[in-house]
């Protein structure tokens, strides 16, 4: 599939959008320069993410990145989530992302890492 079309599909109908039941961790992040906002919810048991969701508003790149990442995050050990690199997110998106747009792509990942480190 055309990566841009894939991004648009995730943007229109994101995976794991909303508030997951019984979440143990939560973090809200905002990019004031563009108004993008995301809140991530994680249910963590034995250091492993057993459920994950997010909600918020943002550009196609930020929403699609979070949507794509959500499938990856569920089932991961929290230590492994902290090791996810920006390159991994860019690879998921499948398009070149410049330094300015990288902030959009990473808003969800950064929020997820923050949620884990805040609570643990």
């Amino acid at each position: 599939m055309n990566p841009m079309q894939d991004i648009l599909d995730h943007y229109r109908d994101p995976e794991h959008f909303g508030v997951c039941d019984g979440h143990t961790h939560k973090f809200h992040s905002k990019n004031v320069s563009c108004g993008d906002e995301v809140t991530v919810y994680l249910k963590i048991e034995n250091q492993t993410v057993i459920d994950f969701s997010f909600e918020g508003k943002g550009c196609a790149i930020s929403v699609a990145a979070m949507s794509m990442l959500s499938d990856e995050i569920i089932g991961m050990h929290v230590d492994d989530i902290q090791k996810i690199t920006p390159d991994f997110v860019v690879e998921l998106l499948g398009i070149e992302v410049g330094p300015v747009r990288l902030k959009c792509a990473l808003i969800g990942l950064d929020a997820t890492k923050q949620a884990i480190s805040d609570k643990l």
């Binding site: 648009l8 004031v32 320069s33 563009c34 108004g35 993008d36 508003k57 943002g58 550009c59 196609a60 790149i61 747009r101 959009c104």
Partner: protein
Amino acid sequence: MLKELFPIFNHKPELVYLDTAATALKPTVVLKEIFDYYTLYSSNIARGFYPIADMATQKVIDARKKVAEFVSAKPNEIVFTSGATDGMNKVALGMLGKISKEKSDLGSLNVVVCENEHHSSLLPIVAQAQNFGVQVKIAKEYSEIESLIDSKTVLVYVTLASNVLNHKVDVARISEVAHKNSAFVLVDACQAVSHREVNFRELGCDFLVFSGHKLYGPTGVGVLVVKEFAYSKLDPIFFGGGAVEDVSFESNVKITLKTGFEAIETGTLPIAEIIGMAAAIDFVNGISMKTISQKEQELSAYLLSQLKSLDFVELLEPDLEHAHVISFNIKNVHSHDVAFMLGQKNICVRAGQHCAHLLHKKMGLHGSVRVSFGIYNSVEDCDRLLSELKEINSMFNER
């Protein structure tokens, strides 16, 4: 064809550059002047006793005269800075710092600004006022500025042309009201200086700033215009070589500074950039500001009329007939996505809040797409933009 004068189009002929409000492209003549300085007479100014230093010194003296003529000021009213933000900070900190030494009732004094402004302009003044305990009066609209000025106002800041909208601000009138109250007026001319004539005398303000890079010149250089008598109201905020008349450490430390622009221009100036900026002014004068204004007005009128015919476009200022900046959104599409998609097609626009968060917040917008013109733009550029906007709308809203 003006595009031929800009070498970037030789390398990227497909480029549609509609982001001059962020920075203007550079013509060959500007780049050549900078290259010549570094290759033919690279030296420091005002301190060398050899021919190439004389040449560099003379070039900067000439540049000062040229800049002064360009804005209808005197050469000794021209302070070279690293850019408009630098100039803003020099006035905000210099003036309030000076006042803090002279007056004890700082809490009763105030500065007046408008919340529509660019952060570069707004924040230096607001932050320094807070640092010195001076009140900040914030106008919701430019029309409110006058009514906020009173006998306790020390500084009024106003922009000549916004980087997001197309307000008309009567700076001369504001200056008149401010001066009646013994307040000083600082004007940001960044977005005006490359689109229309800026006359420091007619504006009646005391300080005016702009950047070279928005005027087809290089980055790293700007201008602070200071009315001659207003120098005495500015404390220098940087100290160093070039600005000092005499230093004595005998009984106690005594630093005697030079006066006027020399007290403010410390250290080695951005010589190449100043020379490049002067070349940019020659370039603009060669085409004539009248021609530039007329061409940009025609282009903006064309683009606005086309944008108004597109039902998926939401213009921030729908009543305009022409404009120096055109800000809009595509319904249901984030401004970043619009700019990104346009970027994929080599069309350069700005998106986001354009360093004007308060303004966007007031309008209830996450951001906007901004188109701004330069002398290299054409109707063809507008048509390519319009065609891609239709494609983006179709991609996001119709498929």
